[in-house]
Amino acid sequence: MSHEILLTQLLYGSAGLLFFLLGAWSFISHEPLWRKLIALNIMGAGVFHVLVAVAYRGLDTPPDPVPHALVLTGIVVAVSATALALAFGRRLDREAPEHASDAHGGVDDREDGTHA
């Protein structure tokens, strides 16, 4: 039984590592924001995969709750981060680049553009 658990864990864990590496590669090699964000979320999914695999203790034993709590918290963090990045992206899309040439370095109390 313990041998089977180990094999399952190994399979899921290494799939998680593979996800992480694929995400990291994609994050570095692609320019568009949405591709970077998807890549980051895949990296995150990879880490969560590893943690879920660690928690598994066979079908008869309840799983270790600590990694599950970590994954839940991690998902909340990842969602908020993605939302903030998308808000930035929308802000950048709304204004064509040539508009902003006069704002170079200016610090003013303009309406901030990050409502999400």
Partner: protein, 478 residues
């Protein structure tokens, strides 16, 4: 019973919720929270200084399930610095933002950032460190883009993405450690760690991710635009505090957690990157055309100094030498925190009153703002490392120990960096001595100038003279 550890994290969080609910009162509530939090932080530091390390398990749940907070000397020193700087920034922000719309957006994010800072310095386990790190990154990126300009949004989007990449990498390291040892508490992990592939991979992943966040050369590319385009109080917080938090975490891992695992070649690599940061950051600061960009590149250089200590700390035998090096490192970090915050606040005032911060055209403007110029001068004393600033003592020990430990090349880097720093500080100050009529009044805008001035004075005079108590604090509560 009142617990300074829990209060230091809970008070700013409570304040953040209150200012979000009552935006009309944000300035008053924000300032009250700032005062209360700083009071608690100083109480915490004094408690640790008087000899007891603090540790508390929130809600009575102990390890391994509960969330623990703890403070030793290193944490307490940084908490004291961060909260004093944050208080000065808060006072400055009441004047800088006034009652404008952006003031209402500033306070909730700022108090969240403060929560994350205190939480990060006090967290006792690897996962809470991750959560605080993310909270810090998110609130810092949102604050940095408060001006709403396109440059600010671009710079902070890059900062956010780089930060996320860094914290994901850190989290994978945490997952590896949990897989191998089944514990997350810093002390328990440190006890369980044995040299081997798992420990090495975890070390590489965690420190690598944090290097991205602490902007060590050549991973600093995101820092100058993000710090130079934020509103002045936010730039001060980003440069003086947020970057320090990531470096604090690197130190924690390097010195406490992976103490038996780290090797001299790895430390040499980090020292080499630090040397690159000192030289490249100082050079770019010298060539910068804008005051805030100069300050941001100077931050890149000062981060480099902190990493120069790692190869020395790793090579030093346990005991006296190591303690002196650690004291010097903390002195440098504290001095830079005060100095850079003061510098950025003063630069913000210059920018606000002249409408630009181009160094070339600074002449008359700098002269009409005596207090701001004096602040930049004092902060400059600390950045260069003239006596009696903390930087002076830190560099003195750095150079002395580098030669004593046979790693003399770091001494050369520190000296070259000092020369370059003198050049970029005097380049700004030289503009202030034009022949223009000197105003009669020293202070122009007390609410923004006095906090900046106090921070700079503290960096140039206070930290260096307080080196002895700081050394005592660092030795306490370990």
């Amino acid at each position: 019973m009142l617990d300074p550890l829990a209060l230091a994290v809970a008070l700013p969080l409570l304040g953040a919720l209150l200012v979000t609910m009552l935006p009309g009162w944000s300035r008053t509530l924000g300032m009250l929270t700032a005062l209360a939090t700083t009071g608690v932080a100083l109480w915490l530091t004094v408690t640790v200084w008087s000899g007891e390390g603090l540790r508390s398990d929130l809600g009575g749940w102990g390890v391994p399930l509960g969330i623990g907070l703890r403070a030793d000397g290193l944490a307490a020193a940084l908490v004291a610095m961060a909260n004093l700087v944050a208080l000065a920034i808060s006072i400055n922000a009441t004047g800088y933002f006034g009652a404008a719309e952006s003031s209402r957006k500033f306070w909730p994010l700022w108090l969240l950032l403060w929560t994350a800072l205190n939480g990060l310095f006090l967290a006792a386990d690897l996962f809470n460190l991750y959560v605080m790190l993310e909270l810090l990154g998110l609130s810092a990126a949102a604050l940095g883009a408060l001006t709403g300009t396109r440059e600010a949004a671009e710079a902070n989007l890059r900062y956010l993405l780089v930060g996320l990449l860094g914290s994901m990498t850190y989290l994978l390291g945490v997952a590896l450690l949990y897989t191998a040892y089944g514990v997350l508490d810093l002390e328990l992990v440190a006890e369980a760690l044995t040299p081997g592939p798992v420990a090495w991979s975890a070390l590489a992943l965690m420190v690598g991710g944090l290097l991205l966040k602490s902007a060590l050369f050549p991973l600093h590319f995101w820092l100058p635009p993000a710090h130079a385009n934020a509103p002045a109080p936010v730039s001060a917080a980003l440069s003086a505090l947020v970057v320090k938090a990531a470096i604090y975490l690197v130190l924690r891992l390097w010195l406490d957690l992976f103490d038996g695992i780290v090797t001299l070649p790895a430390a040499m690599l980090l020292g080499l990157l630090g040397a690159g940061a000192v030289l490249w950051g100082s050079w770019r600061a010298l060539r910068a055309e804008r005051l805030k960009l100069l300050a941001a590149y100077s931050t890149v250089a000062q981060i480099g100094y902190l990493f120069l200590f790692l190869p020395l700390l790793t090579a030093a035998p346990d005991g006296d030498t190591r303690e002196r090096l650690l004291t010097a490192l903390v002195l440098l970090a504290l001095t830079h925190g005060f100095a850079k915050a003061g510098f950025f606040l003063a630069a913000g005032l210059v920018q606000k009153s002249t409408g630009h911060d181009r160094i070339r055209e600074l002449g008359g403007a700098a002269q009409s703002l005596p207090a701001a110029t004096f602040t930049i001068g004092l902060a400059g004393v600390a950045l260069i490392g003239l006596p009696p600033s903390g930087t002076f003592f830190a560099k003195w020990i750095l150079v002395g120990q580098a030669i004593a430990l046979g790693q003399w090349w770091w001494a050369l880097v520190a000296m070259a960096g000092t020369l370059l720093a003198a050049a970029y500080v005097f380049r700004v100050l030289a503009r202030a001595f034009n022949r223009e009529p000197t105003p009669k009044c020293f202070l122009t805008d007390p609410r923004t100038e006095i906090p900046a001035l106090l921070l700079a004075a503290l960096s140039a005079l206070g930290v260096g003279l307080a080196a002895q108590p700081i050394a005592v604090l660092l030795g306490a509560g370990v």
